[in-house]
Amino acid sequence: MDNLIELWQASGIYNISVGQLTMIVIGLVLLYLAIRKNFEPLLLVPIGFGGILANIPEAGMAFSAVENAIHFAKPHVLSELASVLGVAGNDPHAITEAYHSSNASVHAAASLVAQDAGYSNGMLYNFYSIAIASGAAPLLIFMGVGAMTDFGPLLANPRTLFLGAAAQFGIFATVLGAVALSAFGIMDFSIQDAAAIGIIGGADGPTAIYVASMLSPHLLGAIAVAAYSYMALVPMIQPPIMRALTTEAERKISMSQLRHVSKTEKILFPILLLILVALLLPDAAPLLGMFCFGNLMRECGVVDRLSDTAQNALINIVTIFLGLSVGSKLSADKFLDMQTLGILVLGIVAFGIGTAAGVLMAKLMNKLQGGNAINPLIGSAGVSAVPMAARVSNKLGLEANPQNFLLMHAMGPNVAGVIGSAVAAGVMIKFVG
């Protein structure tokens, strides 16, 4: 009978909190969006599922050994932890707080105490430590993305890099928006939080996760969810902005066919980009370095088996772990917060501003050059969201002029946007990291 009570009191139904229930529902919603609405399913399926796993009551899959020990709150364990963490009394909340603000050596000591008491890190916590806290997973994904990226269209028309630059205005305008919200007391974002939120406007998943994990880990879950959701919503967010800022005539502009790009150019480009990064912004070196490495493996033609693995087995494996790890950050106390609402609002603003800036830049370039070389519809592709944004440009182009295929032209700013937001990420890590 005692056992029955014990089993009942250890069950999920008995222990589940409203917050956990809500987060499980949110996880289910993410799965629904991913599976039925095709919202970036490669990431949102693991993120949604990881979010559910992280909120299973009593399972502690997203907790460290110490957090698990505190949760189960055996008095002698608590008092040992309290003594290691320098807390008077056995209050779990005080101990938790001391644990999270402890320095690395005290942290390590508390871990040993918890392990001695028989507690261990949850599996998702381990995944998060290895995949994200170390920075490895976003970099490896970036390597794989590099190996999948064809810089041909960009090399054929390098001026499209300006469009990729302009679209990053979404990032920095959002940073300003976030600090403004704080300045007016509406939200409470630090400058690090603001920078991490802004990067959503980069429309690039691994960059957003990398920056958030460095600047603002407690917002990581919300930022990653916002970034991937809005990337999926690009076909709904961008078109009205693009239509509002362009005339029918502009949308009809047809662009001259792209010249052929030689193998040598494609091989040298990632190397030149790397050297430029090395000389100007070392803080962007990990991100852009791995990206260039992937691209060089792709283009050099002598390591195809490595390139294939980087694009397939390796990126898939890392994606599974990255997604589950991001999901582990979807805890009620961090996600069910006004800040998340702020992040969601700011994120969509970032996308909108980035889109507008890209389109306007294209128009400006036409004006400065006194010609009609660029269809402004490809400017919006500068936000990245590869290849979705380029497809949107193409679709709107075809609407205006059924003979006008903009896809390849839009791929230039599209991949330029990836470089642009990685550079922006480097600047932010440099200044507020």
Partner: protein
């Protein structure tokens, strides 16, 4: 409050500035590189593209094509 806002503003100015400087330099360097290669290392006359080894997924595609041709041929034979 003011301080945070001015930090944000600085970040915006320097950030956008740097992004533009960086990508502008990249435009220059890339253009020069392309011009130099076009002049000094022009690609030989376009030979028949040799398929390089592909990942599993792509192979299917190749096979599909071949198989389509073959099926058509066989079909033609059968329908004789």
């Amino acid at each position: 409050m003011d301080n945070l806002f001015s930090e944000g503003l600085t970040l915006m100015v320097f950030g956008m500035g740097f992004v533009f400087v960086f990508l502008t330099l990249l435009v220059f360097i890339t253009s020069i590189m392309s011009r130099l290669i076009g002049r000094y290392l022009p690609e030989p006359a376009p030979k028949v593209v040799k398929a390089r080894p592909q990942a599993a997924g792509v192979q299917t595609g190749n096979n599909d094509e071949l198989i389509a041709v073959l099926t058509a041929a066989v079909h033609k034979y059968r329908s004789k």
